[in-house]
């Protein structure tokens, strides 16, 4: 398959070639040294993660990362039909500041979005249609146009009162004491 003669190497080397070569070597050496020190500083975390990855059961790793306990996941699989809508609800605002990672006022909204993404991707396709709501109005929007029995709300409200936004609900599951307060409600209509 060889079809042409090889191209000759360049004929002349400019005077600045050697300084560039030496400078490049020095910069690379410094960067490798600094990166090596920084990497060494993080090896403990990687080691611990590798140990957890090989020792901890899958459901424990899933619960630690997603915030959803095995019991809650099982309840969601049993109670929520595949074509239903699941809404993660946490009425603590912050959506105006959500995209500025440095603004602590956006932290509640970021937490809801994070939980929403993890739950959506973990449970897919059971159900597919997952949303989040960070205030009562947003939750009402998610209920609009839906038939009773087709919307389920994973409620992160800290207060012990029953969920009453947009109608009546049935409590289907509640995380046991010692776990993050999350309750699963089935919407029964207005």
């Amino acid at each position: 398959m060889t079809d042409e003669t090889p191209e000759p190497r360049s004929a002349r080397v400019p005077l600045l070639a050697v300084p560039w070569l030496v400078g490049t070597g020095a910069v690379i050496a410094v960067w490798v040294a600094v990166l090596a020190v920084r990497t060494a500083g993080g090896l403990g975390e990687t080691w611990a993660a590798a140990a957890r990855a090989t020792n901890d059961p899958e459901h424990a790793r899933i619960e630690r990362a997603s915030g959803l306990s095995l019991e809650l996941i099982l309840s969601l699989q049993i109670e929520v039909p595949e074509d239903a809508r699941l809404v993660l609800y946490s009425p603590y605002g912050g959506k105006e500041f959500e995209l500025d990672a440095a603004d602590p006022r956006g932290e509640p909204a970021r937490q809801v979005r994070g939980l929403f993404e993890r739950a959506k991707n973990l449970l897919y396709p059971h159900p597919r249609d997952v949303h989040f709501a960070r205030d009562p109005d947003e939750l009402l929007g998610k209920l609009a146009g839906r038939a009773p029995g087709t919307v389920f709300v994973l409620d992160g409200t800290l207060a012990p009162d029953p969920l009453a936004v947009g109608g009546r609900y049935t409590l289907l599951f509640e995380n046991p004491p010692g776990k993050p307060r999350l309750r699963l409600w089935g919407w029964r209509g207005r």
């Binding site: 070569l21 590798a50 899933i62 630690r64 500025d100």
Partner: protein
């Protein structure tokens, strides 16, 4: 049942070996060869999976039907090419026991990070919101619900190779007791691409440099935090980087030896990168002006024969497949208006240019100078192009050397036209996306340094014109 890692990994490797035998490329580089067969095998597997899914084969048998047919075709190619001369041993790249030990340790290092990744399920960030979600959708929504189910995907228009590779792992895995899909093992083949990335870089550098500088430059990759993150996850950015490195290395070997088999290797690398993530289209576009400029600078301009473009066929096939796929399912890019503002990247660019360009420039300088990243290689490479222009722009590496900074600038222009708040977009993706070019830049840096040393050894010194 947990999927058998050996079986998951052996599939692409076996297909890759056969495909390479078909191309007549045997193990001429004991390090890079593993990366080459990995990308060839993954491409073949992606095609097999797509065929299996299109045919509506049952979940577990989709891969069997597709890959068996492909194996047969490859064996036909192999038989046809059997009598062609093989590469002779003097062409084999040196490795050496010292560098060989370094590569083994580096590969184990990469695997260790990949294992650590199984600490968290594949449900967060792009790997959860885009890649694994589409892989699941390919299997459980196909065909009727697939198009409508993409509303749950953050970037439905992204290419299919990553989801297809994950789908292959899902096919071999049974359901978890309490969830529809496994949540950890699906990363396996994508993480394999990141391990292959290290092997591709190490092999490309050792081909051109002595063991010590090759090892030091390869260490830049091994120590790069973005690379660690990619090893632990199923993001597609490492796949893009792998495809680009193989494309650059293959192109350079082709120019060094005028052996068209390496041009095909480069073509496979480009196809792999194109099927991995959309940014590769930008890099391909950057290669066009780079090719024109490189040709203007070239010492000898040989006539361009149509045959010279044949190795681009795999890349063109990927582009056609991807375009038809998106058209068929009505998937559009957020850059072309499928975003909450309804405005295209170009409209937003015009509106945000004055506000965002200074911020982008500041970010570029900050990351390129940061001791926390290996992005400084871009600076060293551009500096080299200015300080040794004859070697850089008239040598065999001129095309990729010019394409790389143009592509790098192109990434920044895309951020200027992004609909997302700039700080948020930069914080969540800038270092990772620009990392796609870092391994190729490391290889090009090694190639340029090698050319400088070779020219000096030949005694050709003198003032720059």
């Amino acid at each position: 049942m947990i999927p058998l890692p050996q079986l998951v990994v052996a599939g692409p490797l076996g297909l890759g070996v056969l495909l390479f035998r078909g191309l007549g490329l045997r193990c001429v580089d004991a390090v890079a060869y593993w990366a080459w067969i990995w990308i060839a095998g993954c491409l073949a597997f992606g095609a097999a999976m797509q065929v299996g899914i299109e045919l509506g084969a049952p979940r577990v048998t989709a891969w069997v039907v597709g890959s068996a047919g492909l194996l047969y075709l490859i064996s036909l190619v192999f038989r046809r090419r059997k009598r062609e001369p093989r590469l002779r041993s003097p062409e084999a790249s040196p490795v050496g026991s010292w560098f060989g030990a370094f590569v083994w340790l580096g590969a184990v290092w990469c695997l260790w990070f990949a294992i650590a990744g199984a600490d968290r399920p594949c449900i967060e960030g792009d790997e959860g919101n885009i890649w694994s979600l589409k892989a699941k959708s390919l299997l459980c929504d196909w065909p009727d619900l697939f198009a409508s189910a993409q509303v749950y995907n953050l970037h439905p228009d992204y290419p299919q190779l990553n989801p297809l590779l994950q789908a292959w792992t899902y096919c071999l895995s049974s359901e978890l007791l309490f969830l529809p899909f496994p949540q950890f093992a699906n990363r396996c083949l994508v993480q394999g691409c990141d391990v292959a990335l290290f092997l591709a870089v190490a092999g490309a550098l050792r081909h051109r440099l002595p063991a010590l500088p090759a090892a030091v430059l390869s260490s830049l990759l091994l120590l790069e935090p973005e690379f660690h993150g990619l090893l632990r996850t199923a993001y597609a950015d490492g796949m893009v980087a792998l495809g680009l490195v193989v494309a650059v290395d293959g192109y350079l070997r082709y120019r060094e030896r005028n052996d068209r088999r390496y041009a095909w290797l480069a073509g496979l690398g480009l196809a792999f990168a194109l099927w991995s993530k959309n940014e590769t289209m930008l890099y391909l576009a950057a290669a066009l002006p780079a090719a024109v400029i490189a040709r203007l600078f070239a010492r000898e301009r040989q006539p361009l024969a149509p045959r010279a473009f044949l190795p681009l066929l795999p890349a063109l096939a990927v582009i056609a497949n991807h375009t038809v796929w998106n058209w068929r399912f009505g998937m559009k890019s957020d850059l072309l208006g499928a975003n909450p503002t309804g405005k295209s990247m170009f409209t937003l660019m015009a509106e945000q240019w004055t506000e965002r360009v200074p911020a982008m420039a500041a970010e570029a300088v900050r990351v390129a100078a940061s001791l926390q990243h290996a992005h400084v290689v871009f600076v060293l490479l551009v500096l080299g192009m200015f300080l040794v222009p004859r070697l850089a722009l008239r040598g065999p590496a001129a095309l990729p050397l010019l394409a790389l900074p143009i592509g790098w600038i192109g990434i920044h222009v895309v951020y200027v036209g992004s609909f997302l708040p700039l700080r948020f977009h930069l914080d969540t993706s800038y270092a990772r996306v620009t990392f796609q070019l870092v391994p190729a830049a490391i290889v090009l840096l090694g190639a340029l340094a090698s050319d400088v040393v070779a020219a000096r050894r030949a005694g050709h010194t003198g003032p720059s014109p």
